[in-house]
Amino acid sequence: MFLINCPYCGERDQQEFKAGGEAHIERPKQPTELSDDEWAEYLFMRKNIKGVQFERWNHAHGCRKWFNMVRDTSNDQIKAIYKMGEKPPSQ
């Protein structure tokens, strides 16, 4: 059970949060211009890294804000948390 430092509310128990998959996958601005393969890349392909991964999380039972998290999936260490739209910390 993680202890997650919501950038808007502070430290809260994991059960207040919802994980939202890989971060920094931007929805294409002009989907109709994309080939099937390019669209599939956006739609389906995820890295699912063992190690340091950039993820989206939502404080669903709190402020309902989305934010980003850098987590090492091999040991569940949360390396960094930052707001949507902010630059990811350099590795």
Partner: protein, 1001 residues
């Protein structure tokens, strides 16, 4: 033979307080302070159970939670009986009843015991090999296995006890109150850390508290005496909370631990009443100190499982702590010094210790001299090769060990005895440490797994960290605490410690016998009857991974989770396969450390609190009018309203007719409602729905279909434009929360530039849906000032009105195909307005109808229900709803996916109508559809999604998804059922009023 095995009184036992209890139907007596195990031993009862596979007689083997054999059923004759309790942990109380498990008909005469003689037929993987073949025999095997094996009986009645949960936040959590835990907790609390100390037993002090070895001293006192004084001072320390009878079950990430606090199990019945039985502590600790101690290892030799064979440390605890002798003629068998302490403790209480058999060649400890002085014979370099005694140990045979320890030589000596203490060294209890996610390291020298790391959030101290000797424990504890707590001084830096030092140990995982291994029974896992032989067989059969060997032989898979034998299993695998133990790794220790009751896990969330229900403002009216309810998401929705003993079918047929012929009323309050405001609200709707919203006038309503980005239908509902920048969106009942979440996600992450605000208002409004040709007349009675003409208030439009001065929203929309109005009132007026509708509708025989009738009516019209007629694989095109997908809009969620090669395929499953050849046959929802009955293999074309008998059409109707269904209109298909094949014809999805005339009647 009662009480004849009590030795000199013990300060931990209150002999003035006699307690009677029953075991296997017989009454015995013990004293306050006894466990069931110590009281039974005092009564000379050792045979307490049968092993799982061979049903061999088994006795009490330990004094703690690692007990594999003494597993009992509490209150065996009650319908609230509890299985799998460990006799070593049950504190006796007046009236306690317990019985052996896993034996039939009784522990003394057990039919399954015959398996013991069939043992050659029950090798490793026996269950896999035998019971899987032939498959058809499984039922027969199962009957036999369940009858004679099985671990205890489940209760048949609901648990009457009260359980509780508590959240705890602390600076420092100390797990285990042995000497290390106590000193750590004291240091932490004195340095102003809010400290919580947990101990699974009912007393503090661990094994030090009953230590009588005079060779080990602290400040010139017996270690036990010194520790008692430390403990007596604990109560004066603020910042320190101590909980005994509290076992940590799980250690999760970020120092989140779950512990079970046992509050009343040790009390007699009258004192348990109305009290909380157990409490689950949910602990979030800034720092955790693990002081979980170590478990003594058995030794693995031929027939090492007879009643009377007990861990050496347990014999010492029974003797020193409970004042109970485990036997009258005791032998110890050891590979290290600790058995000598036990032997001396027994000797000092006047008990007969016949011999000590030591596999080592010698030891330099001072305690050896005392043993010699006591006249106890020591057999150096000897090993036990066999034992005798069926229901109780009667003798052991010993032989000289070869130098390399792999064989025995010389002549066999037989020594009679009724108790054998075995001492195989110590295994640090690292279970919680590994649960926390940290890694172990293997100390090849000492053959133990120890914690690899201490972090800023967690340390291990004492014997769970591999420190077994007093001076080591204190020195390392002081050092670690200063760093961990960032303090200058530990309280215990200036204490003088005297230690008898010979830590030599000779480790032989599997002790040799004079017989070939095939003819021996060296048990590694007592509860599951896995022997060293089974492990070797598994290796011969090609198993290599420790996890596979474990499952194949069932080693370590009992209720004790292999606390005793796991290390030996690893050692035997390593020796046999010729690999290093450190490279082999260990199996994963999973929570819980000791079993938890379901009651503790669920706490107060039982009965009506098991799940939360949402009820509409009109709920009381539905109840009063005898509605049957169905669960939709968390909601309790009125399902149908039977009158005069109607069946569901009869009620639904009546309600459905009434709604089309005169007037019906439905509680639609549960539909999700999202208030959308902001200058970009219209643009937002354009992006989230498939159709266009720019031209929707204020006061008008529109149906919308929402897709996932993959093009599949996600939700639907009607959205009304309340103002220039103000909409109210409705969603499906079950989808409301997810739709809101999805919309918020897009707004926050993809389109933060849009000026849009979303608010869930589902609970703020109650919705009464009036429907049927007379609904207009009824509404007119309620709101006479509202002009209900089609010109002023056409279909798909909205009016804000006052009903008794209460502001209400009325939408003229229809999910049934009839003329229909939805009246939305502030939730608190919901029931009043509903009442008004019922009163006004009386002259038209207004009929309340539930969700079942709603489903039937919409199916007559071919309206889909998302989640019933769709399943996450249907596009709007598949649903034949091409009309709702805007071709002009540049983009909306899911648009691009509608042009993927796969979604554009012609022969996808598509929504169609089905009519049965025999109009009286109603299809089963979920039934499969085929075109050919004789073709093999049969190709499944699709399945029935909705099916009803329509009273308004007087025939059966169904919706279905069928491969290439679009092109099948008029085609005959078949629904093969168990006893018959049903012929159907593919039809249009709209069965009733195809011209949509009824919305304007």
């Amino acid at each position: 033979m009662s009480q004849n095995l009590r030795v000199k009184s013990s300060e931990f036992i209150d002999e003035t307080h006699r307690i009677s209890f029953k075991f296997d139907g017989k009454t015995y007596y013990g004293f306050k302070g006894d466990t069931l195990a110590s009281a039974l031993i005092a009564n000379n009862v050792h045979l307490v159970g049968r092993s799982f596979k061979y049903h061999r007689p088994r006795g009490i083997m330990t004094s703690g939670s690692e007990e594999p054999n003494a597993i009992v059923q509490i209150n065996p004759n009650s319908n609230i009986t509890e299985p799998n309790a460990r006799a070593t942990e049950i504190e006796i109380y007046e009236g306690l009843e317990a019985s052996s498990q896993n034996c039939w008909p009784s522990v003394n005469f057990d039919i399954g015991g015959i398996n013991n003689f069939l043992a050659p037929l029950l090798p490793a993987g026996f269950y896999y090999k035998t019971f899987m073949w032939p498959k058809s025999f499984w039922e027969k095997y199962e009957f036999f296995i369940r009858y004679s094996a099985g671990l205890g009986k489940s209760p048949t009645n609901r648990d009457p006890d009260i359980y509780d949960h508590r959240n705890i936040h602390c600076d420092v959590l100390v797990v285990g109150a042995g000497i290390s835990g106590i000193l750590a907790a004291k240091n932490a609390a004195k340095n102003n850390f809010k400290t919580l100390l947990l101990e699974e037993k009912n007393e503090l002090g661990g094994s030090t508290i009953f230590e009588t070895n005079e060779e080990n001293k602290i400040n010139n006192k017996l270690a036990s005496e010194w520790l008692k004084k430390e403990i007596s001072e604990l109560k004066n320390i603020k910042n320190l909370e101590i909980k005994t009878r509290t076992s940590v079950a799980a250690y999760h990430q970020y120092n989140y631990l779950l512990a079970r606090e046992n509050l009343t199990d040790h009390l007699e019945k009258k004192d348990k009443k109305d009290k909380i039985r157990q409490r689950l502590l949910k602990i979030r600790a800034k720092k955790v100190i693990l002081a979980t101690g170590a478990l003594e290892r058995p030794l693995i030799f031929n027939n090492n499982d007879r009643p009377g064979i007990i861990l050496s440390s347990a014999i010492k605890k029974y003797n020193n702590f409970y004042g109970v002798a485990c036997g009258t003629k005791t032998i110890f068998f050891t590979n290290n010094d600790s058995a000598y302490e036990s032997a001396l403790a027994l000797h000092n209480k006047g008990l007969n210790v016949k011999a000590i058999i030591d596999i080592r060649e010698n030891s330099n400890s001072r305690i050896i001299k005392k043993i010699n002085d006591a006249g106890i014979k020591i057999y150096w370099s000897h090993s036990i090769v066999d034992t005798t005694g069926y229901k109780r140990l009667s003798s052991v045979s010993i032989m000289k060990l070869s130098n390399d320890g792999t064989s025995v030589t010389g002549s066999k000596i037989s020594i009679s005895c009724d108790c054998l203490g075995i001492a195989g060294g110590w295994t640090p209890a690292v279970h919680l440490y590994t649960q926390s996610g940290n890694k172990l390291t293997f100390d090849e020298e000492r053959k133990i797994f120890i914690p690899k790391t201490n972090t800023a959030e967690q340390i291990s101290v004492g014997s769970c960290a591999g420190d077994f000797e007093l001076d080591e424990i204190i020195k390392n504890l002081n050092y670690k605490l200063k760093i961990f707590l960032n303090i200058n001084n530990s309280d215990f830096e200036d204490i003088a410690i005297e230690n008898d030092h010979d830590t030599s140990k000779r480790n032989i995982w599997l002790l040799p016998s004079d017989k070939p291994i095939g003819k021996t029974k060296p048990f590694v896992d007592y509860q599951n009857d896995a022997t060293a032989k089974d492990i070797k067989l598994a290796l011969r059969e090609g198993f290599r991974s420790i996890e596979h060997v474990k499952r194949y032989t069932t080693t370590g898979m009992g209720t004790d989770q292999g606390k005793l034998g796991n290390m030996h299993a690893l050692g035997i695998i390593a020796d046999t396969a010729g690999v290093k133990m450190g490279e082999l790794g260990t199996t994963t220790f999973r929570p819980p450390y000791t079993p938890l009751t379901f009651g503790t896990i669920v706490g107060r969330n039982v009965g009506e609190f098991f799940d939360t229900f949402r009820r509409t403002p009109m709920n009381d009216w539905h109840v009063k009018n005898k509605a049957k309810f169905e669960n939709v998401g968390q909601w309790k929705r009125a399902w149908y309203y039977p009158i005069n003993g109607e069946t569901m079918h009869q009620a639904v047929q009546r309600e459905s007719k009434a709604a089309r012929q005169s007037a019906g009323i439905l509680d639609a309050s549960t539909l999700g409602k999202i208030d959308i405001q902001g200058s970009d609200a219209t643009e937002f709707l354009n992006r989230v729905y498939t159709n266009a919203w720019s031209k929707l006038a204020i006061g008008k309503c529109r149906y919308g279909l929402m897709l996932n980005e993959d093009g599949m239908v996600y939700d639907d509902g009607v959205t009304t434009r309340l103002g220039e920048n103000h909409y109210i969106m409705t969603t499906t009942t079950g989808g409301a929360a997810n739709v809101l979440g999805k919309l918020e996600d897009y707004l926050q992450t993809e389109w933060p530039e849009l000026d849009v605000y979303l608010t869930s208002v589902t609970d703020h409004f109650a919705t009464a849906s009036l429907c049927g040709p007379n609904s207009k007349k009824i509404l007119n009675k309620i709101i006479p000032e509202l002009n209900l003409s089609d010109d002023n208030f056409p279909h798909m439009s909205f009016k804000e009105v006052l009903i008794d001065k209460i502001k209400c929203r009325v939408m003229r929309i229809s999910f049934t195909g009839e003329l229909s109005y939805e009246i939305n009132t502030p939730a608190s007026y919901g029931e009043a307005v509903w009442q008004k509708c019922i009163e006004a509708g009386k002259e038209f025989d207004i009929t309340p109808y539930g969700t079942e009738t709603m489903h039937l009516l919409r199916a007559e019209k071919g309206f889909i229900i998302v989640g019933q007629d769709t399943d996450g694989t249907m596009t709007p095109i598949d649903l034949q709803m091409d009309w709702i997908v805007s071709k002009k809009k540049y983009d909306f969620i899911g648009k691009r996916s509608l042009y993927r090669s796969d979604t554009m395929k012609e022969n996808r499953k598509q929504l169609v109508g089905l009519l049965t050849e025999d109009p009286n046959i109603v299809l089963e929802e979920g039934a499969q559809i085929v075109s050919e009955l004789n073709q093999k293999p049969v190709e499944m074309l699709g399945h029935v999604t909705s099916s009803y008998f329509s009273p308004n059409l007087n025939k059966s109707i169904a919706l279905a998804v069928v491969k290439d269904g679009k092109n099948m209109k008029g085609k005959k298909l078949f629904i093969p059922m168990e006893n018959k094949n049903i012929s159907v014809t593919v039809s249009n999805t709209i069965f009733y009023d195809e011209e949509n005339k009824r919305i304007n009647v």
